[in-house]
Symmetry: D2
Subunit: 320 residues, 4 copies
C-alpha cells in the first residue's frame, strides 16, 4: 500500500516470521525503536475482554535503512519472529472451513492454504502495519501531525452471552494536517483512508465526518460555514465534512469512524464444514478476545499514519 511511502508486508501466523519493507522513507529522520515496541504492545492479544491463548512477546528487528538510529532514505526491512508455534493445535482445522472466516475463500482462490492460526489471514499480519505506522507517526510528528483513536460503545450494543463476542466502533482523529493533501478524483484522501481502514481484518464499515448521519440532516443544516479564526485564517465553524472536501484536506481535524464485526472465533462450539459438505463441530480452544477493541486502535492509527505521510510526500510534487 502507498505510492511514495509504502509498505510491502509478508508472513503467515505460524510461519517463521512476519515482516515488511517500507519504501520511500524520508532520509535523515531519527527513529525511536522503543516507541515502535510500545505501539506493538498496544496491539498485543488479551486486551479485548479476556486473555488470548497466545502469549506473544513480539520484538521487531530492523534489518536495514537505519544507521545509528537515523533513516538513510533506503528501504527499511523488518521482521517479527513467530515464537509461539504450536501447529498441532490446528490439526483439527486442516480440512474444515470455519464459518465467517477466510478458510473457504483462501482455498477457493489459491487451491491451497495454511490452516494454522488463519495463516496469512490471521490478525497477526497487522503487526507489520503497526511497525510501519509507528515509524510513520514519528515522521509525521516532526511536521506537527498527530493521530489519536478511541473505541466507542455502540448505542444498541446487545448483551453478551457466555463466550460470545461483539463488534467495535472506532473513532479516529488526525490533528494538524495542512490543507491541500489528497488527490481530487480517484486518490481522494477520504478514499485512501477508506481503503486502508477496510483492509484491516474484520472491518465492515467506514465513514467520515457526519458520514451515515448525513442521511438525517438537510443541506441547509449541514454546510460547514466559514469563519475567520483569531490568526486571521479562513476556517469553518463546524466540521461536518470531517476535514476533507472534494477529496482534499481543508486544514481541520480529519475525523472518521470504522465499524468492525464481532470476532468470528467464539468461546462456544461452532459448526464448520469439510470439503465433502459434512458439518464439523469445532470446540472452543484456548482463550480469545471478545472484541477487536482496544487492540485494533494502534492498527487504525497506523494505517492512518501511513496514508497521511504518503499524501504529505505526494503533495510536495504539486508544485515545481
Amino acid at each position: 500500500m502507498g505510492n511514495l511511502f509504502s509498505l510491502t508486508s509478508f508472513g503467515e501466523s505460524h510461519g517463521p516470521a512476519i515482516g515488511g519493507v517500507i519504501d520511500g522513507m524520508p532520509a535523515g529522520v531519527a527513529i525511536d525503536l522503543e516507541q515502535i515496541q510500545r505501539e506493538m504492545a498496544r496491539r498485543r492479544p488479551g486486551q479485548g475482554g479476556v486473555t488470548s491463548s497466545r502469549m506473544e512477546s513480539d520484538e521487531v528487528e530492523i534489518l536495514s535503512g537505519l544507521k545509528d538510529g537515523v533513516t538513510l532514505g533506503t528501504p527499511i526491512g523488518f521482521i517479527v519472529r513467530n515464537h509461539d508455534q504450536r501447529p498441532a493445535d490446528y490439526d483439527h482445522l486442516k480440512d474444515v472451513y470455519r464459518p465467517s472466516h477466510a478458510d473457504f475463500t483462501y482455498q477457493a482462490k489459491y487451491g491451497i492454504r495454511d490452516h494454522r492460526g488463519g495463516g496469512r489471514a490471521s490478525a497477526r499480519e497487522t503487526l507489520s502495519r503497526v511497525v510501519a505506522g509507528a515509524i510513520a507517526k514519528q515522521v509525521l510528528a516532526q511536521v506537527g501531525i498527530t493521530i489519536s483513536s478511541e473505541s466507542i460503545t455502540p448505542e444498541n450494543q446487545p448483551p453478551l452471552t457466555d463466550g460470545d463476542t461483539m463488534g467495535a466502533l472506532v473513532r479516529c482523529t488526525i490533528h494538524g494536517v495542512p490543507a491541500g493533501l489528497g488527490e481530487p478524483v480517484f486518490g481522494k484522501l477520504s478514499s485512501q483512508l477508506a481503503e486502508s481502514m477496510m483492509s484491516i481484518p474484520a472491518a465492515k464499515g467506514f465513514d467520515i465526518g457526519l458520514g451515515f448521519d448525513f442521511l438525517n440532516v438537510t443541506g441547509n443544516t449541514s454546510l460547514d460555514n466559514w469563519t475567520v479564526d483569531d490568526d486571521g485564517n479562513i476556517t469553518t465553524s463546524t466540521n461536518y465534512s470531517g476535514g476533507i472536501q472534494g477529496g482534499i484536506s481543508n486544514g481541520n481535524d480529519i475525523c472518521f469512524r470504522v465499524a468492525f464485526k464481532p470476532i468470528a472465533t467464539l468461546m462456544q462450539p461452532i459448526t464448520g464444514i469439510d470439503k465433502q459438505g459434512n458439518a464439523v463441530v469445532i470446540e472452543p480452544h484456548g482463550r480469545h478476545d471478545t472484541c477487536v477493541a482496544p487492540r485494533v486502535l494502534p492498527v487504525v492509527e497506523a494505517m492512518a499514519a501511513i496514508v497521511v505521510l504518503d499524501n504529505y510526500l505526494m503533495n510536495k510534487a504539486t508544485h515545481l
Copy 2:
C-alpha cells in the same frame, strides 16, 4: 484507478471536454455503444427532484481500441464534449469559496483553480466513470456477472424546506461473482470497493454486508453458517458478510451501501467567503437537483464494475 483494467480520466466541467483512457481491456469483446449512451442517460442531471440548469446532450466519442465494434486489446480513448459552456455565469464565484465545496481545498492545494462549475471537482467528471463502467459491465456480462443498485429512503429523513437538499443512501448488489476474487491483505475486494465508492463526489460512508449494523449483534448471531445447496455446492444460509470474507469473494452476492451527503448547492442563498475573509452572499442560480440519487446509481454501478473486472483479470494470475 485499477491494476490491470484501469481508467485514467481527465477534464474540467467547463473545459473543452472530459474523457479518459481505459487500459487493460480484454481483446475480442464486442461492445454495444448504445448501451454506453443509455448508462450516460441514467446519469444525466435533472433526475433528482428538479431539473438542473444544465441540459446536457452528452455523446461519447470512442477514439481508439475498437475495430468494427470489437475490442483490440489496446487502450480505449474516449471523450465527451462540454457543449453548454457559459463561463460568464460563474464570474461571481471567481474569488469566492463556497461552503462545503472543494473551492478552498483546490486553491490550497494547487494555488490555482478553475472556478467555472466546480472545474475538475464537478460531478461532471463522473461521466468518464460511467463510460468506462458501461464497457466493464458488458465484459462482465460475458462471464455472468451483473450489477444492480437502488436508492433507499433513510428512516429518519428530515422534511425538506423550500430549496433545501438531502442526502442519499444507495444499496448495490453484484451478482454472479465467483469465489476467489480479491487480494487478502491490502487489496481486499472490500477495500477496493470502499476506495472506489468513496471517490464518488459527495460520498461520505461505505459499509458491506451488515456493515455498521454489526455493532447491534453478537458473534453468535451473525455467523454465516454453512449449508449445501441443491447442486451440492458449499455455501452459506445467510449473507451477513456481504459476499466477502478475509477480503476475498465467497461466491455469494456482494452487497454494500454508500452514504452521500446532501448536495451542497442549494436553491437558497448561501454565504461564501473571499480570500480576504469577507462574507459573500451567493444567490441561487439556475436549477439544481435536490439529491444525488437517482443520478448517482449508474456511477456506483460503474465503479463496482471496474473494480470487479479488474479483480477478475487479476485473479487469472493466481495460478500458472
Copy 3:
C-alpha cells in the same frame, strides 16, 4: 509511463485520433502551445531521406488541465485527429504478416489486430509522446534543465541500394540535471532512461556514458577522477559515467545513445506470409522514409524529458 509525472496514451494509426493523458503536472506553469506544435513538426514524416506517402498536418487539441494557458495541476488530456485515413490502401495487408513488423506478434497476443498502417504499432503513436515531452521540456526549462540530441553517422554504414533503408544512432544529452535524481536499485535513472528509449519503435540498443566502449578500456583508465571547479564545487574532470553513478545523477551532463534498426518498410518488394503459411509478395506502396532519423530526435528528447521531470518531482519526497 512515469510515477508522478506520467503519460497514458492511446490511439491506432487509422482510428479517429491518437492522444493521451498527462497526470502529475505541476500547477501554475505557463505552457506555450506553439512550442508543442514545433516539436510535433520536427517529428513529421518525410524528413528521413524521402517524403512519406502520408502528409500529416497534425494539430494537437488540449482538452483539460489548462486555464488561460497555465497548468491547473489536474490531468492534461489531449488528442490529435487522424485526418489522412485511406483504409482501402491497406486491404492487401489484412491477412498478411510483414517481415520484421509487429503484425504477427499483435495477432499472437490479441487474436485480433488493426492492420491499417500498423494500428497501435504505428510510429504515429509517438505523437503522444512528443506532446507530453514538449510540455515536460517547458517545465524543466524553468528549473534550468535542457535536452538536445543529434543523429550520428555510424562508422561502418553500408551503402544504400535503391529503395533500401538504414539504421540510426542517436546521441542525447541532458544538461543542468542536479545531483541526486534517480532511485538507487530498481529505479536507477539509467534504467528508466533505458526503458523509455527502448520503448520507442525500432529501438534496439541503449548505452550510457562510455557504454559498450567500456569493454575497450580498463578500470584504471576509465575512472572519473575528481576535481574542484571554479566555484569550489566537487565535480569530475571526465564524464565516462555519462552523468549517472549508482543510478543517481551526479550533476554532470547525462549522455546516452540509442541504436535504431533500419526501417522495415522498404521501397522494394518484400515477402510476407499469410495465416496459412503462403508467401505473399508485397509491392512498395507510397513513399517512405529511409531512416528514422532525424524524425526520431524529438521522440528521444520527449522520453528523456518525461523521465527527468518525473524523477525531479520524485526527488522532492526524499526529505520531509
Copy 4:
C-alpha cells in the same frame, strides 16, 4: 520491480541483513530450496579473477509464502544475514568520495549514507535478485521457459596492468517464450528487459538481437523473413530481431547483451576526495575481483526470469 510478479528488496551491505518480498507468486508450485542456494553460490565473490576479501557463506531463510515446500500464493519474504561485518575496515572512507562509485551521489540525494562497503549501493544487494530469480526460474521451468547466459571476451579487450580491472560483455538467451508476451507501447518486453538489466550495478549498455550492429546493415539485409517449420508453424529463418517485434515476443529465442564497466575498486591506489575538496589517496584493501563476470551471470538471468514470469502472468489477462 514487476507488475504482478514483483520483487521489493532491502538491505545495506553491512547492516544486519539483506532480503526482499516476492509478491504475485502463483500458488501451488513446488520450490526447491537447494536450487536457490546453487544460484547464490554462482554469484559468490571471488570468481572474477581473484578471491575477494569477503568470504560469504550466505544462506537464504524463507520466512513466508511456502508450506511444505509449496507456494501458498501469498508473499514470500526472505532474508540473508550479513555475517562478515568489519565496519572498522571502512572508517577511512567515512568522509571520502571514491571516484566512479555511488558515494557522492548517495550523499547528494539523501544527505546521509552508509559508507560501509558501499551500503545500499553494494553489489551485495543483487543477492535478493538472485533469490527471487531462482524462484522465478523454477516457475518458468514448469511452462518450458529456460534462461542461459555467458560472458563473451570483447574483441578489443586491453591488457590488464597489475591490479587493474576490466569490463564484461554478457550474452543472455531466453528459450521457450511463447509468442505474445509484452505490452505494445510503454511496456515493451524489450524495454522491460533493458530497464531490469540496466538496474544491475555497473551495467552501462543493453541491446537486443543485432542491437548496435543494426547500424552496419541495411533494411533489405536484416529482415527476419518468414518460413514454415517442420510442424507447420510460421516462424522466421533468421532472428535479427532477437525474439521481439513491436515489443512483443514472437516465439523465437530472446537474445540480448549487457555491457558492464570495469569494476571501480582497483587493487591499486586510487584518489578520492573529501567534502572539503581535498584529494585523499585510498590504498587497496583486501582482495577484489577484476571483472563482474562470471559472478554477474546469475544476476542477469535472475532479472530476465523475473521480467519474463511477470509478463507471462500479465498476458493471462489479455483475454477474458
